[in-house]
Subunit: 338 residues, 2 copies
Amino acid sequence: MVKLAIDIMGGDYAPLEIIKGVKLALERFSDIELVLFGDEKIIKEHLGEHERVKIVNAPEKIDMGEKDPIGEIRRNHNTSLVKAFQAVKDKEVDGVVTAGPTQGVVTAAHLIIRRIKGMKRTALCPVLPNLGGKHRLLLDVGANLELRSEHLLQLAQYASIYLREVQGIEKPLVGLMNIGTEEGKGREVEKEAYALLKNNPNINFYGNIEGKDIFRTECDIIITDGFSGNLVMKTCEGVALAVGKFFKEEINKSIFRKIGYLFLNKVFKNFKKTLSADEIGGAHLFGVDGIVVKAHGSSDAYAFSNAINQARLAVKGEIIEKMKKIIEEEGNNLNDEW
Amino acid sequence: MVKLAIDIMGGDYAPLEIIKGVKLALERFSDIELVLFGDEKIIKEHLGEHERVKIVNAPEKIDMGEKDPIGEIRRNHNTSLVKAFQAVKDKEVDGVVTAGPTQGVVTAAHLIIRRIKGMKRTALCPVLPNLGGKHRLLLDVGANLELRSEHLLQLAQYASIYLREVQGIEKPLVGLMNIGTEEGKGREVEKEAYALLKNNPNINFYGNIEGKDIFRTECDIIITDGFSGNLVMKTCEGVALAVGKFFKEEINKSIFRKIGYLFLNKVFKNFKKTLSADEIGGAHLFGVDGIVVKAHGSSDAYAFSNAINQARLAVKGEIIEKMKKIIEEEGNNLNDEW
């Protein structure tokens, strides 16, 4: 059984849509046991009793618009988010899923669950939409705005383990986000990271990749610092939004075009679906000592059940244990060398 | 008369397409005089004599695939690019237009023309496609991978002058590329730049903008360092490419959809045209003591004539003189304060 804590109060459509997501996940996956943190009365009313569910009453929530989520997490230990994360820390569960605010999730993970021993940084890792033949991981997109080359290496190792154990990709291909493809391009951090990634036995390194290649590269993992990754991820979103708006406006310009739209209706629907975060579920927070999945704030029930599945697969893949082993091995190597 | 140097040998379709572009520009703009640097024989054969044209024989070129354009520029002073840039330095012309390799252009501008006195950094500044109601400038996209806050301020001032004098936008709105919209977001450099931009009398500051807003923001100018700007620009290209491919593949899946495409043919053509760099012409290199326009490597005659027009308008707007005045004023202020 995979045991997961669920933050019922986080997300734009919480708690009802999250409760529906929990219901759906319980139907879809028979090997999960869930501990729900939220308003007990509402949960009982909408979910009823379930043999694989435990409820912990925690009706307080962190507001999505909270200006100081870090302070809020330090001050108030009674929110559903903090209590759910505490359950991971106390090893009552193997992981946690929440649609709460990103900054709150990153902060709570650091303050409560804490990093894996020997893991130098964490990373927020979403899955990019399958716009060019496959899904790809992009990290970091904002947990750490600046990262050193050795941090990038460790995070790439973690992401490689994740894809191997969860997706069954034997040797995930890692690309380094850069401004040109040749070795020697980029800032000092990219030059150093290139050398580290190239020479590490646990990394299948492709080389540098540019922004124009992110949806056509063979790479499974794209690694960069949190500032750059955030810009890239949100730029993808921005272009997709603008393209959607462009087509809508152009098509509305004539009856003739609207007729054409009827023929291509399915194509535009597929386009929208491809770009939707719902199919994926959420972003992992790699590097803390427990599985943390941050579902999209606007998650509906289906999206949230997918986020639960992401956490489930990560627990089953025992990726944290496997990363700990690499850290130990490389730690030993470092001791030998230095 | 606006006097411009033209590098005839740079670009994927040089020299013939560039010569055609020159011809077209001479027809379109009666107030330009051009000095062409390239293979005299070929130019004479394809252009003939023209009263507003002077030819300087310079048949050697910098290869687009040149691995070490910087070394090449230092070693070989006979290339069309180097000679054209030397003409700017020697004040024989007011500016230069080339479709040669970006790194070569940036290097030649620094080594030969040099920065405006008091200007601390340069920036490559393309115009973003008009995907959301207006054209916007994005800078820097690669002249300097790392920039300090005072560099960002100066470059924003330069870009503001450019839009005011060339596009007639009285107070161009400047946005700072960041990972969130609130003040206080970002790395140290963004936090410092926010304060500088907000308090400078020559800047109409909007605040932070995120990647998802670049095609819907009211901002006219988006400012960031060369590493980030390059990622953002190329990510836009990557998403647009992937979207184009997606629609093509989806439409080809059935006859029914192909019929729909016939109705929407014009819409897709407009989409392609909107994203094409040809309409714009090229990217400016801001900050050197002469107008430098780098046309797209794949420029055809029309695109190149547009790049010539960009240089022409910048010269007519006397933007370098106006930037020099600001540098002088702020230099005086600095002397007063410190």
